[in-house]
């Protein structure tokens, strides 16, 4: 209820791209099913959810930028041979199925009613261009009160090949251009993204901490020691998170204080200033004390957290 209240309160937002502009994350990435995890994708599958607010009754479109795997944007391993499938799901179970909210891609993570699906290989027609899924009647999405709207799921699944498909999404009211859905948002439980090659690059993603959370475990995969990961919130002012090396996960636990409950925290990524790491792909997961994964919203719920120091004198 608190989340929906906050979402309704942010109804005027217009950032329906995933990743969002404020995240400063360049692109999402999904490798082909035959890739090796050390290239930065632990499961070759990315699941995102978009939220369409109740006020949106006209059809919506889910657009994918550069859905093919080819050209100079995507990550080449040998020759491009990768096929990635994008599937849109609606219906009752697309989100509410517990497997859907989990991280395991071997169960019923494709829950829900399949609305549309298309696989892309090497296709210059879609290279650095938008492909539009839809139209979708908003009522085809699963209405979730606590999320404040109807939910659609999009799964990017690396079917075959070993290249990295780099792409991004947009939730639009138009099939031919990116027209944001007022009050829309995106979230995921496992964020796979491509980090910038620019050593001055800083990006951040925003998991939401609910009122049941007393601690979080932040896991990152294949960070390649490319700079730092820090945690900001109303109560944390840039605490360093351990970073993973090549092809491994690392987990760091943080306590959640009272004022952080029902708020967004920021995980900030800063590039290595000394050694340039190129083509770095990373996976981030946040779990609560029960091991339940927590959502990253591309538009942070309640806004970007601002550290609020508590000045004391002694």
């Amino acid at each position: 209820m608190i989340i929906s209240f906050i979402l309704i309160g942010r109804i005027a937002l217009f950032s329906q791209s995933a990743p969002a502009v404020d995240e400063n994350v360049p692109y999402l990435i999904t490798f082909g099913g035959n890739a090796i995890t050390s290239w930065g994708d632990d499961d070759f599958c990315q699941v995102f959810y978009c939220i369409v607010p109740p006020s949106q009754t006209d059809p919506v479109y889910i657009r994918v930028y550069d859905p093919d795997t080819g050209g100079d944007l995507d990550e080449l391993k040998g020759e491009f041979n990768t096929i990635v499938n994008f599937s849109i799901y609606g219906g009752n179970d697309c989100w509410s199925d517990t497997t859907a909210q989990g991280l395991n891609k071997t169960g019923n993570f494709k829950s829900g009613y399949l609305l549309s699906s298309k696989s892309f290989g090497v296709d210059p027609k879609y290279d650095k261009k938008w492909y539009t899924f839809g139209p979708f009647n908003p009522s085809e999405g699963k209405y979730v009160d606590k999320l404040g709207g109807r939910v659609f799921k999009i799964i990017a699944l690396g079917i075959s090949g070993d290249d990295g498909n780099i792409y991004k999404y947009f939730l639009s009211t138009s099939p031919v251009e990116n027209v944001p859905v007022e009050g829309g948002n995106w979230f995921t439980y496992e964020y796979h993204f491509r980090f910038s090659d620019d050593q001055k690059h800083v990006c951040q993603i925003y998991p939401f901490v609910d009122d049941k959370t007393i601690s979080i475990q932040i896991s990152n995969f294949d960070w390649d020691d490319d700079g730092t990961i820090r945690i900001f919130s109303v109560a944390k002012n840039g605490i360093f998170c351990d970073v993973s090396g090549e092809d491994n996960w690392i987990v760091r636990e943080f306590q959640i204080v009272a004022e952080e409950k029902n708020s967004t925290i920021e995980i900030q990524f800063t590039k290595n200033q000394n050694v340039q790491v190129r083509n770095n792909n990373v996976v981030i997961v946040v779990r609560n004390q029960y091991g339940i994964s927590m959502p990253f919203y591309v538009v942070p719920i309640g806004g970007v957290p601002v550290y609020s120091p508590k000045i004391r004198m002694k």
Partner: protein, 471 residues
Amino acid sequence: MSKYHYIILLLALFFNSELNAQSDSYTVVPTSFSSRICDEFSPVFYNGGIVFCSNERDNSLVGYKDEQNRLFKIFFVTKKGSNGWNHPKILAKEITSAFNDGPATFNEIGNIMYYSRNNSIENSMRNITDTTNKLGIYSAELIDGKWTNIKPFTYNNPLYSFCTPALTPDGERIYFSSDMPGGYGGMDLYYCDIHNNSWDKPVNLGPLINTNKNESFPFACKYGKLYFASDGLKGLGGKDLFYTQQLNEEWIIPVHLDSAINSNADDFGIVVDSTLENGYFSTNRLKTDDIFSFKSAPIEFATCDSMKENNYCFTFYDEKQQLLDTVKAIYQWTFGDGIIHVGKEVRHCFPGPGKYSVSLTIIDELTGDTIAKRVEYKAELENINQPYISSDKVGKVDKSMSFKGVTSDLKGIRITDFFWDFGDGFKQGGQSINYSFKKRGEYTVKLGLLSEKDSLGIVSKRCVIKKIKIN
């Protein structure tokens, strides 16, 4: 002016009454030089003796005598032995008029006198029905044993009375009583400060002191205490004696003197010695105006607290700061003095009590972004609720040290009296006092305070001690 009118001005409100029971604080007795037939009042110390006003006949005067022979002159009486007094005599013929003279006041070395008298002293003016011959204040200078250079006070006005002058011991201020316009009714107390050998304009002591009746007979003693008589302030009846003083530049509410000194008769014209323990005052409790001596009992303070030093230095920190060395954040603190202090914990000393605003800005050391911008913290510093002895902690033998009793931090009570103990018992003094220690060593200085009576008539005592080292 006749005796009748003079009495209206100064004594009309005095009534004989029953003597109040003496309290334990004071012992009062009539002086032997005070007659039971004539009137004597307004004693002041002068040259080892006492100068006062009296209507005793003195045959040496060639003056006008009214039908009741009640014109007042300035008399002087000297000590005889350790306890006795010689017969009073006219202080000086050269300042004795054929009308009313006195009361008088002297500077500390006794060569300047201010006194009241009728403005017109020509014999041709003598007319007992004349009410226009008001009292004025006059000054005289003692040169070669003679009071000369008699001058009227700058602000004398023939239409109004100016009387009962009282110089402060340093001669920098004169208090007096007047019914001039602009007061609160009847006779009011005023003062003038002297600058460049001329008196500033009179300043009314204000409604805390002056009433719509009569305030007069001021006496300014050492340490700034001002005694006076009033028949408008709440007392035992008739004129009663009070004292006040300026603390922190404000007059304290007048303190009614002990019931041994005050009675339901008229009590007025008081003088106290430098210890503030002994003195003389005027009263008509025995029908005529008489001068009584008084002696106060030594005051005791059962317990004295060690004085705690006020602290204005504090360490500021961010309670949320995780105190991890790895946090790359620059903490910038400002305290309103224009200086930026950098550090996750910084120490700052404020100049004193007051309200301060502390501001914290946190900069991300890696990105240069602002993590927190000018987060404000309001700090309000209060001194400890205690009397405070302000002085150096270390002094030298035979070198005068200055001590000041700071009472502004005391909440809810008004201080009326200061007592200082430098090792030889409590003695009344002022808010500020100088003292010289005669030997090396460590001393315990005590400051005892009395407050004004509360609603139950109880006087609170507070006492603090301070260690002083004398090298």
